[in-house]
Each structure stands twice: as C-alpha cells, then as structure tokens.
Symmetry: C2
Subunit: 480 residues, 2 copies
C-alpha cells in the first residue's frame, strides 16, 4: 500500500470508525458467537500473495464484528469503563505514524519529555503533593505504565529492592534468599487479583487484610497483622492500598494506613485504577486524602479519563527508588545526556523495554476537553449512577449493596445467591445490556458500572426497565 | 469533539501522517534539542477550558517534531528497526475505535480468537513445529506480548512455577524459599539486558554463559556451567537462548543447547526478537533449526515484520504451563465458557491484565503484503546490509566485526576504541545519519542496522559517503 492509497484508505477508515461509534447503539452489546466461531470463517494460513484491501475491509463486518463485545456501547455496564474519545484516537494515530520507541531520552526526546510534563499536568489536576511531581528540580515524577497491574508489580519490586539494600547494609552477612523468605506484603481482601499476582511474581508472601463491613481496610486491621507477623519473625515491607476496589468501589482508609506504613518503613502503594480519575473533581478529592503518606500512586486515565488504552499513570516520590530496582545500562542504550538531572530514561521505570508515544493521547485529551470538560464528564457518570441507584431503591424487591460513591452501583434481588445468578444470566442472555457479578461478603451481587462515553439518562432508564422486566419474570416463575 | 468534527479532523490527520512519512527524508533524523527543551514550550498546567483543535495541531510542529528522533527515516540506522506500515496503522485505528479490553474470551471473543488464529498463521509462516500451534486440538499456542522483555520474563516465571511444583511434589517438606535460593538460570553473555532483568525480577540467579569467537553460545560452554552448578548444589531450570543478539546479531547454537536443556529438564526459551522475522524466508529458516527442543519461542513482528509496536509474538508447547504460573480467577472475570477447551483467556498468559485488539494489525499486514511480499521486504533489507558490508570491505581503513547474516553490519575503523568513539560521535553530531555502538570482545564497534521501510540503495551509498568523509577527517586530524 503506497502513500496515495493510505490517504484514501485512511479517510475511509475514519468514516468507518465514525459510523461505528455513531451507530453503536444499534449493535447488540454482547455477541452470540460460541467458542471457536472465528477459525472457520477465515483461511487456515496467511495468503501467499497480497489480497485486495476491499476484501479485508469487507471481513471486518463478516468476521470481526459478530464476535465483538461493544465496550463503547451505552448498553455496556460490565467491568469498569475503558476510555475512548476522538482526540485520544487522533493522538494515537499520530503516535503510530511517528513510530518511535521511547525507551531512553535519546531514543526520542519529545516522547520522554512530553510524558514527564503530562504527568506533572495530571498530578496538578489531582492536586497531588508536590513531592510526586518532577518539575525541574523534583526527586519524584510520573510515568505511563501499560496497566495498573504493572504499576503494582513495579512498586512491589522497588520496595523489595529497597528493603534488601537496607537490610544487607545493616547486616552484611545476610543472604538475599533468607531475607526474601521473610518478606511479607499486604493488601485488602478486596484488592484486585493482580495484587496477589504481583506477590507471586516477586516471590514474596502477600497477605490479605480483612476489610470491614464497608469493604474497607482500616488502620487497626493492618496493625494487628503487622504485629503478628513481626512477632513471628517476618519483615513487613509493602502495602498496596486500594481506592475504589473492583468488586464494589470501596476505599481503604489511607489516612489510617499511611502513618502506620511510614512508621514501620513499609512502602505504601496506592492503586486507584478506576476511581483515580474522579479525584480531578474537588468534591471527590477528599477520597485521596492520605496520598501524602504514599511512596507511589497509580490510576488508569485509560479507564475513566477519556484516554484510550493503554495509559496507566504512576507517580513516585523518589524516582531513584524505582530506577534502582531495574537499572541495566548496556552500551547500545547509553547516550551522552544520560547523567543529566533533567533526563529521564523511562526504560528504568518499567518491565518492558519498548514504549509507544502515549503521552500524546494525554496532551490531546487534556487540551480538547480542558479540566472543566473532564470534570463534567466524571460528574455526568456519577450522576447517572445515582439515578440508577435511586431506581433500585424505589423497588422494594431489590437492595443496594455498599455505598454508591462514583459510577458503580452494586445491587441484587433480595433473596438467595442462586436467584441473583439466575437474574444476571437471564439479563446477559437477553443481550440488551451487559453486566458482570461479584461477591460481597458471600453475597452474589450484580455490578452496574456506568461505562459508555455516550451513556445518557434514557439508557439508564431502559436498562432498569430491562432488569425489572426480567426480575419480575424470574420472581413470578419462583412463585409458581 | 463530536463525530462530525472527528470525520474532518481524522481525515486531516491521515493527510498529516501521509505527508510526514512521504517527506521524512527532509527531516533531520536526530534532533538538536537539549534536555528539558520541551517544558518551556508549553504551559505548566492543563488548560481549564477547551482549546481549539487548530492550536493543538499547530503545536505538533512547534513542540513535538523538533524533539523527535525519526525512527522511520531512511537515515536511521540505530538500535534495530521498529515496524511501521500503512495497513498496520489502519488496523490500529480500528482497534482504537473498538476499544475493547481482551483479557478474557468473553470480554471480546473476536479479540481473543483472531489472536490465536493469527499466531497459528504466523507460526506456519515460520514453519514452527506443530506442537507450538493451537489449532483446534493442540496443547500449545501463541499469544501477543507487548515486548520481548515480557516474553522472557513470562517464560522464566512459567519455568520457575513448573520446577517449584515438581520439586515440592518430589519432596513435600521442601520450602519454596529454599528451592528459590538454589535455582539458576542461564543466558549468553551477549543476551539482551532484559534477560538479566528477568532473573532479577524473578528473584533467581541468572548466569551468563561465555560466548565463543562468533559471539555464540554452544553446547560445551553450557554443559560446563551446568555441571559446575549441579556439583555446587544448584538447580538449573531455565535457559534463554538468543537468535540474533542485540550487539552483533549472533546466533546461539540451539541444536546443541536444546538437547542438553531437554535432558536436564531445563526450560529452553528462545529470544529471536529481531531475527525472528527473517525465518519466514526459506533461506533463513535454518537459523531456527533446533526450535523443536524449545519450550517457548518469541520474536517481535513489531521490529521487522511491518507491524507497528506493540506486537511481540510468543509461542509455548504447553499452554497449561504458562497459565499455571499466573492463574487467578475472581468472579468478576469468570464467564460461562471458560472451561471449554476452545477458549483462551489471555489474561493468564501475561503480566498485565488489560490488552488491546492487536491481532488486527497482523491480519491487515499479512493479507495486504501476503507471505511473498513480507519475504521480499526482509530480503531487501538483508541485501542492503550486504551492500553496506561490501562498501566497508572495500575500504582498507575499516574492518567488519562479526558475520553479516541479516540486516545488521558491525564495523569499525582499524584502530583504538577512542578513535571509533570519536568517529561515532562525529557521525551522530553531523546529524545526517544516526547509529548506536556496542562492545564486541572489548572493541568499541559501530552498529549499522538497516531500519527504514523506505530505505533504498541510494541511502546506503549516501550513508557510507557520510561515514567515510567523517572518518577521513578524523584520521587526518590524527596524523597531524
């Protein structure tokens, strides 16, 4: 395909994308296909010779779309939102065209520098403590990770390297495996599975701290486990607090946990993957109070801040601590400026070496929406969630589970888990809306997460109608 | 930005991209900026209110482009190539628009299924042993990782989980930390720094096996270290062989290493990040002979197969072994079909949870170029490298270092390291072409990697002219 053809095909693709998103409501949100559906629709090997582009485009509707779960549909209420907006897509096109790999400053200075400044911009939007910002003199700063899972892992590895270094300095005879076998990390029993995985990957114990009736971990629960572990000869070194848990969007009490971590020399990482975007609104910023005690903080603008995946923002107070966990410097990656204080080589901050020019997406989105526009977007989703909540509360057959703080509503039919499993299955089989469940204190609960960029009140009303119709049928069956 | 505006802006962006790539030769390949250049060009905080899109676009040339290292320029000969092609960019636009997160089959069946089939297509193009393919009945299969670094780490973690399981089954009293402290992994002393990092992250010893005069690790060198380690009570469990090392594109002897690993129960992972793309050509496929002994194999189509970053292809013979290292199954990620043999939940194969619809890029590129077109592309780069090699060989002041097998030529002025450091610095300061160095057997060497999609013979000739002119100047200075 030459440049002239790309001009034509690119414009056709822009129209296809615009049509897709403009008419997404008309598509069934969850597909009907069964496992293995796709293999039979295409050849079993790549073609020897080039195919016409028209053939490929025709196959998008024939092969791909029948198997797509439409995350951008206003009828999609599953998981958490994944960000999508036109300016982010435009920036991503540009990123693809530049096609640089920004592992070091020299590999493309703009790629590194825009990232550092965009993380400062975003940090200011969140009113993060100054220590987390890079500025021109700071010791902290931000980085784009691919996902929150990676941020959790990177923070754990940095904490592990830090404690190893400290303990070996204090006791020169102490062997690494001996220390590793005693290290213990903490997270809430409501934390995302990726936190447990980070412990597994890092080869350290990861203990789940029991959450309270609000699904939140407080200082007392943490202190109890720390005392027990220390008495048993273990070494607490890392705590991942969650702001906005995946099951119910609950908030750990970082105002209590933070000072404990600080006094015990435990690295506190905060995972606010979903909820973090809301902290740009002054009325939600209090949820982040206590971040001043953290060593690292992360959330996903690619979830709820209109930036397409991937863009997971992570800040640390001391970048030397994160770099120290990974630094490797072969000659082919060295460059003249690397020892300058102004230079960041992001390869030392992350698991992969390569990286796209992802900060362009932040730049385009922040400028196109402005802070006010982004705040409006967050507020609209929260208000839609409350609208749904009040519909649920008006129907005495249903109950709300947990507090509705942001865009997630957890609810269920009053009754057994089996009843609610049946309800969710029937709703998803109906294909009008799509949701996923969770367990809260052994109750099977339906999660209604406001996700779509174009979701409006009318969609919420239609979703509730759909849920209550199916609920009524199921309850009637039960009575018969 | 509404859909109507996106139609307009998207088409403008397509033209901008086409213009950029069409005229990239006119841009200086390496930028003149100094560290910190960008911060002063833009405000120090995000705007409160939306800005006009025109402002943002104007800033691409004012703020971004002056700091871009143009990886797609035909004057870029640094590192290794990073893939870029129009069909890949079109597919990526579509992927952004669909905006699904394919962590499980149910999260978007097309995203998972196309990936499995595309990895089968690509595996067939490479003539991989049947065991690595998923098919409908296979126990193996492929996955797209973000980078080769992640593939190396994932393979190491799978190997670690496998040996832990086996040793604990054999000796139920054996504690995990005790085993971990004895595990030892191997790679070449020429292996990429990410291999050493994988050992660091996984908390296991990683030993570098000395390479021979061709910078290749053979069976004898590996066997010697294994015997020593076993005698010392260590447990060898993982070996990362490299096909196409980063410094000089050397090849470990997997025909020798493979059987040793198999008989010693050592997981053999093959990292062919750059070279792997060439194996689609029958004349280069012999370089992959011995892959039949491997447990896992990885290369980066996003390097040399015209697919934009990120797209790192990894295959395993037994997918249960890779899944076993990571599997976590919270309710909110479960779905009806997950126990079916036909279903793959890729979240169990990787470090991050989220993932883009990246297989679309493979599908568009394979069909647009066809196998023949991709082979032609590889052959053109190899032939350009040989053209450069012969220019170097004709000039008695220079020497070639290592064999030129694919698209990388390592060379230097006959003389001291200081002389060659001076040469490279002058070349890069000249800004006409861009290269990075490496050390080979303590010699400072210049790496000339054919990278650009549009690089032609005339660019090679111009590059050589530039190098010899600067070389002559430096040698003359030296004589005076």
């Amino acid at each position: 395909m030459d440049t002239a053809e790309f001009r034509r095909r690119g414009k056709e693709m822009v129209d296809y994308i615009a049509d897709y998103l403009e008419n997404i409501e008309g598509r069934q949100v969850y597909p009907d296909v069964v496992p293995g559906y796709l293999r039979n629709l295409i050849p079993d090997a790549a073609p020897e010779h080039p195919e016409a582009y028209e053939e490929i485009v025709r196959d998008i509707e024939r092969v791909i779309m029948p198997g797509v779960t439409h995350w951008q549909s206003p009828y999609f209420y599953a998981y958490f939102p994944t960000g999508s907006s036109y300016p982010a897509m435009l920036a991503d096109m540009l990123s693809g065209a530049i096609g640089c790999i920004g592992f070091s400053w020299a590999a493309s200075p703009a790629c590194t520098e825009l990232e550092t400044v965009m993380l400062d911009w975003l940090g200011k939007m969140l009113n993060l403590p100054e220590e987390f910002l890079a500025g021109t003199e700071g010791q902290g700063g931000g980085v784009i990770q691919s996902t929150a899972s990676e941020a959790t892992l990177v923070a754990l590895l940095a904490a592990r390297a830090k404690i190893l270094k400290r303990l070996q300095a204090e006791n020169p005879g102490l062997a690494e495996p001996e220390i590793l076998s005693k290290l213990v990390a903490y997270s809430s029993d409501q934390a995302h599975c990726s936190v447990e995985r980070a412990g597994l990957i890092g080869g350290v114990k990861m203990k789940k701290i029991p959450s309270d009736t609000k699904f939140s971990v407080g200082g007392e629960a943490l202190r109890k486990v720390i005392e027990e572990d220390k008495a048993a000869g273990l070494i607490p070194f890392y705590c991942c607090a969650t702001l906005g848990t995946t099951p119910s969007c609950a908030f750990d009490n970082i105002m209590e946990i933070g000072p404990i971590c600080n006094s015990e020399n435990i690295w506190m990482h905060i995972d606010a993957a979903y909820a973090g975007s809301s902290f740009i609104c002054p009325e939600f910023r209090h949820l982040l109070n206590g971040v001043e005690f953290a060593d690292s903080f992360n959330f996903n603008p690619h979830k709820w801040l209109l930036i397409n995946f991937d863009c997971s923002a992570m800040w640390v107070k001391k970048r030397s601590e994160i770099i120290g966990a990974f630094k490797m410097d072969p000659l082919y990656l060295q460059h003249d400026h690397q020892e300058s204080g102004l230079v960041t080589d992001y390869r030392h901050w992350q698991i992969p070496l390569g990286r796209r020019f992802r900060s362009l997406k932040m730049w385009f989105v922040f400028r196109t929406y402005g802070l006010k526009g982004l705040q409006e977007y967050i507020r609209k989703h929260v208000s839609l969630a409350h609208e749904f909540e009040s519909l649920v509360r008006q129907d005495k057959r249903f109950e709300i589970c947990g507090d509705v703080v942001l865009g997630l509503v957890c609810f269920r039919l009053k009754g057994s888990n089996a009843l609610n499993e049946k309800l969710l299955k029937a709703i998803n089989n109906g294909r009008m809306i799509h949701m996923v469940p969770c367990y809260l204190a052994d109750s099977f609960v339906l999660r209604f997460a406001v996700c779509g960029r174009t979701t409006e009140s009318k969609h919420i009303q239609l979703a509730w109608e759909n849920i209550t119709e199916i609920g009524t049928e199921i309850l009637q069956e039960l009575q018969q």
